[in-house]
């Protein structure tokens, strides 16, 4: 009984911290519609900042607390809203999510950079060592503080939302922002306030929990996953229910922690699952959420580019990739190939996101987890049969379907949450399991870190050598890329795009959206499984730490930054992660990579199409019209390759020249093209347009003369002419 009360009180303290973190999350989500994935990272950053002030610069605790929690954190929230989040209005759910993930990565990278994780940072609880006795339980002052603070937050928020003018406006914004505006509320100011409060609460939770956890970037950032289990019990809406959720979570956690360690049987297995309790609660909560209403598409601010890839173009792309791979394989040393081999597995994982996010508009944050499962399957199937890849695809596909099932009937955000939860569950628990036996079959997932992933045998020959496996990876990548192109061009691909554009419309046309989502999710999981198998083969030996949630986030980010509608994005992601250029050249800057990805992602609110579709493709498209230039380029590359093989030039020169060619080719070709055929644009403009007036700006570009035509047609000569270009989006 004594223990029961003891554990209960410590559970209450845990619950209090979850509650503080989760209410901040719910507050920003309901008032602004942005689910802040970086909530935990903000708490982490605040905890480190506080530590630096308190123990690094020896400021008195009250000063450090005031500066950190009441000045810096709310200020950061307000700036974040003003600079980034405000521009997210009218973008897709995926863009919103990815931007907050990029903030997470940016903060995480920055914190690792500023505060080296290898250094020990002893932290002290508040009122170190002082205790108080309540109904026979010894509670530290720190715990009492945490409980009181949570209570104060609950009362404070209640008063703010129900007793103040701005609070009432905030609640009005939750129901209907445009209506609230009509009644004099100012959504921009309200959004800024709720971000300020939200980040403040994240910081508060971070500072309070840091002394009891280790001061570690990773575990504090992942606090988000635990906190949002509570938020989901509150259905991301209700603050009181969020508190109840936090209570369930905290008590479950601490009772489990208290009692499981005393079990005498299977204790080691249960113990591995303790860190996953919030995640398990999250899954159960998801099952009880009511079905979401199908919503139509809301107006998107930026028009999405969804060009249909042609078979011809895709085959050329694959030919170029394989040719390039052969060139690289024969030019670089084996030590470099060890690293380079990893490109293809990672690129295939990137590819797996194209049907899912790019076409279907569904997000998954656990593709690397599927990749790890793929690796394990290939390793356990054993031998060198290529069929192992098929098994990897089938098993990960099935697991993927199972994971997605509870979340698919809900809105997009829940799929992101449950996949993230699954990734963390696997990281923290399943991949760390010791040997176990089910139905008489012994499982040993990673064989204590020495799991060997075989490379396949093809045509009676093993793909063992560095060059051979590097080229094999490229071939698998190309095969997968062609599958992706095939999906995009198929009826199924059309349906996916249609579902992304309007779920309500496809449903009323007779499409079962749940099954469609399930199929695309499984398919994408299966592709990631194959990617993992290829990746595992590149590493040869893997252990349970091989994947982590963060590397998965980075792949998603890279794909979105490059553009989820292009196969080239996957190549980019593979290269970026597989060839750690920055890291090799400047070892001290290895966090810069994460920070860079983070900051690049933040720009997405402006340009959700990704840089390949937006900048690179339009530049290179001109090459198609100048076949001679292509031939000349190929000849040059072949020449350089010959020189390299003959050891006339070294790798640096080789790479330098190729990069130089890549940079000058598009502008040069544009120049040649414009010399040869005088600008077709000018020609079109000179030619009188023979389309009905209503379609100007729709089927033909809108020209200044059109204003005049329209004036004449409508007999509006007296009306002041519109500035040219106004209304270029069409005569709606």
């Amino acid at each position: 009984m004594r223990d029961f009360i003891n554990f209960g009180f410590s559970g209450l303290t845990t619950a209090a911290i979850y509650a503080i973190a989760a209410t901040g999350l719910v507050l920003t989500y309901t008032t602004t519609g942005v689910f802040n994935f970086a909530h935990g990272a903000m708490g982490m950053f605040a905890a480190f900042t506080y530590w630096e002030m308190r123990f690094g610069w020896h400021w008195p605790a009250p000063v450090a607390l005031v500066v950190c929690l009441l000045v810096l954190a709310p200020l950061f929230g307000a700036i974040l809203e003003l600079g980034i989040m405000r521009r997210l209005q009218g973008t897709s759910d995926v863009t919103k999510l990815v931007v907050t993930i990029s903030v997470l990565l940016g903060l995480f990278g920055l914190a690792n950079w500023v505060w080296s994780p290898s250094k020990d940072r002893p932290s002290r609880t508040f009122f170190q060592g002082r205790v108080v006795k309540i109904i026979g339980v010894r509670l530290s002052y720190h715990e009492v503080t945490v409980l009181l603070v949570a209570l104060a937050v609950a009362i404070g928020l209640r008063l703010l939302l129900y007793r103040t003018r701005i609070g009432v406006s905030m609640r009005a914004c939750v129901d209907d922002p445009s209506l609230a505006t009509l009644n004099g509320a100012r959504p921009a100011r309200i959004a800024m306030l709720s971000w300020a409060i939200g980040v403040g609460l994240a910081a508060l939770a971070g500072v309070l929990i840091a002394p009891t956890l280790q001061l570690s970037q990773l575990s504090l950032t992942l606090l988000i996953i635990d906190a949002y289990a509570a938020a989901i019990i509150g259905r991301l809406r209700s603050l009181p229910m969020t508190f109840v959720g936090a209570l369930i979570l905290g008590l479950a956690n601490d009772y489990a922690l208290g009692y499981i360690t005393r079990l005498h049987t299977a204790e080691q297995y249960f113990q591995i699952f303790i860190p996953s309790i919030p995640v398990i609660v999250l899954f159960i909560a998801l099952l009880f959420l009511p079905q979401a209403r199908l919503r139509g598409a809301r107006l998107q601010r930026t028009r999405e580019i969804a060009a249909l890839p042609t078979w011809g173009g895709s085959l050329w792309f694959c030919a170029a990739v394989i040719a390039g791979t052969v060139v690289v394989a024969t030019s670089v040393s084996n030590t470099d190939l060890v690293n380079l081999q990893r490109i293809w597995g990672l690129a295939i994982i990137g590819l797996s996101l194209i049907p899912l996010i790019g076409l279907g508009g569904q997000i998954s944050l656990c593709q690397v987890t599927f990749a790890a499962i793929g690796m394990v399957v290939v390793a356990h199937v054993g031998g060198h049969t290529p069929l192992a890849y098929l098994w990897a695809a089938l098993i990960t596909g099935a697991i993927g379907g199972l994971i997605a099932l509870p979340a698919l009937r809900l809105q997009g955000i829940y799929l992101a949450l449950s996949t993230a939860a699954f990734a963390v569950l696997m990281d923290r628990s399943f991949f760390q399991l010791p040997k176990f036996t089910i139905f008489g079959h012994r499982f040993d997932l990673f064989q204590a870190g020495s799991l060997t992933v075989n490379r396949p045998r093809l045509f009676g020959k093993g793909v063992e050598g560095f060059e051979a496996y590097f080229i094999f990876g490229a071939v698998v990548f190309c095969a997968m890329a062609l599958i992706v192109v095939g999906i995009r061009r198929s009826r199924f691909g059309q349906r996916l795009l249609a579902m992304k554009d309007s779920a309500a419309a496809v449903a009323t046309l007779g499409l079962n959206t749940t099954v469609t989502k399930l199929v695309v999710f499984s398919l994408s999981a299966a592709m990631a499984g194959v990617g993992g198998a290829v990746y595992g083969g590149a590493l040869r030996a893997v252990d349970g730490q091989i994947v982590d949630f963060f590397s998965g986030l980075v792949i998603v980010m890279l794909m979105v930054i490059a553009g989820l509608n292009s196969v080239g994005a996957a190549l980019f992601a593979g290269f970026f992660l597989g060839v750690p250029v920055i890291q090799n050249v400047f070892p001290s800057l290895h966090q810069l990579q994460t920070v860079l990805v983070g900051f690049a992602g933040i720009g997405l609110g402006q340009n959700p199409n990704g840089f390949i579709a937006q900048s690179i493709r339009p530049q290179w498209d001109v090459l198609r019209k100048e076949k001679q230039v292509i031939v000349a380029l190929l000849a040059l590359v072949a020449l350089m390759w010959g020189l390299r093989l003959g050891h006339v030039i070294d790798n640096w020169t080789f790479v330098g020249v190729i990069l130089g060619l890549a940079v000058i080719a598009p502008p040069l070709t544009t120049l040649i093209h414009s010399r040869r055929s005088p600008a077709p644009a000018a020609e079109a403009a000179a030619k009188p347009v023979a389309v009905p007036l209503e379609w100007v700006g729709i089927t033909v570009p809108y020209q200044p003369e059109d204003v005049e035509r329209m004036d004449r047609a409508l007999d509006l000569r007296l009306v002041e002419a519109l500035p040219p270009g106004a209304g270029a989006d069409g005569a709606a």
Partner: protein, 247 residues
């Protein structure tokens, strides 16, 4: 027995009653008008019929069978299609692809499925969009967007067609062509329910009109009866207006 029977439907949002105990029928071969001022609950009623919105009370019957608990896609497969007041086009697809998607989805249950490409070609011509068939749907003006939605819903070969303000955003000539298409469809045996503010169109094509106001039934009958109904006149034009002022 009518093809569609709506029985005592009530929908509330929070404390607001959006639809209050409304019943009406839609028969095959008839164009039924559903009119009323903004906020009368017309679109909500469509959402209930198609399964996008749950009713608090009441039933929806198709062919005499209760379908209130079916998902939207299951209802569509029983021969129901709709258009949306706030356009729900597949914006990243072309006009042709919009119709093709619908036709390919419907292939699984329609009796004589044609190749989606053929269906699209035929319907795009029928609604008069051939010139913009390969334009992305989100580049079209609203009036044409509505025609895309019409063609798209026809691609599933529905027996019941629910049209939510299909003529708004269309020019007079477009509306006239549209009225012909509707009469054609109805003559072919389809049950059409038309929500519309364009009273000329409604009075022209509808054989039966159901008037809603603040979620409740205000009047129902053929166009002449509705036109003469004092309650309708009051709701639409203010009570001082004389009979016959509409249309």
């Amino acid at each position: 027995m009518a093809l569609l029977e709506v029985r005592n439907i009530t929908v509330t949002f929070g404390g607001v009653v959006a639809v209050n105990d409304v019943s009406f029928d839609a028969e095959g071969g008839r164009i039924t008008g559903l009119i009323g001022p903004n906020g009368a609950g017309k679109t909500t009623l469509f959402n209930v019929i198609t399964g996008l919105q749950r009713a608090v009370r009441g039933q929806v019957l198709l062919d005499g069978a209760e379908i209130s608990n079916l998902a939207p896609y299951q209802r569509a497969r029983r021969g129901m299609a709709r258009t949306f007041q706030r356009l729900e086009l597949f914006g990243t697809l072309t006009v042709r692809e919009n119709v093709e998607v619908a036709a390919s989805i419907a292939r699984r249950w329609v009796r004589e499925p044609d190749a989606p490409g053929l269906v699209a070609e035929r319907l795009i011509e029928r609604v008069g969009l051939t010139a913009v068939a390969d334009v992305r749907a989100d580049a079209l003006p609203t009036g044409q967007g509505r025609l895309v939605e019409l063609a798209r819903s026809l691609a599933t070969q529905p027996r019941l067609l629910l049209l939510d303000e299909p003529a708004s955003g269309q020019s007079t000539t477009e509306t006239e062509h549209f009225a012909d298409v509707l009469r054609d469809l109805s003559a072919g045996g389809m049950a059409v329910v038309l929500v519309e503010h364009d009273m000329t169109l409604v009075m022209n094509v509808c054989e039966y009109i159901h008037v809603l106001d603040f979620g409740s039934t205000l009047a129902a009958g053929n166009p002449e009866q509705v036109r003469a109904d004092p309650a309708v006149l009051a709701a639409y034009l203010g009570s001082e207006w004389q009979t016959g002022a509409i249309a």
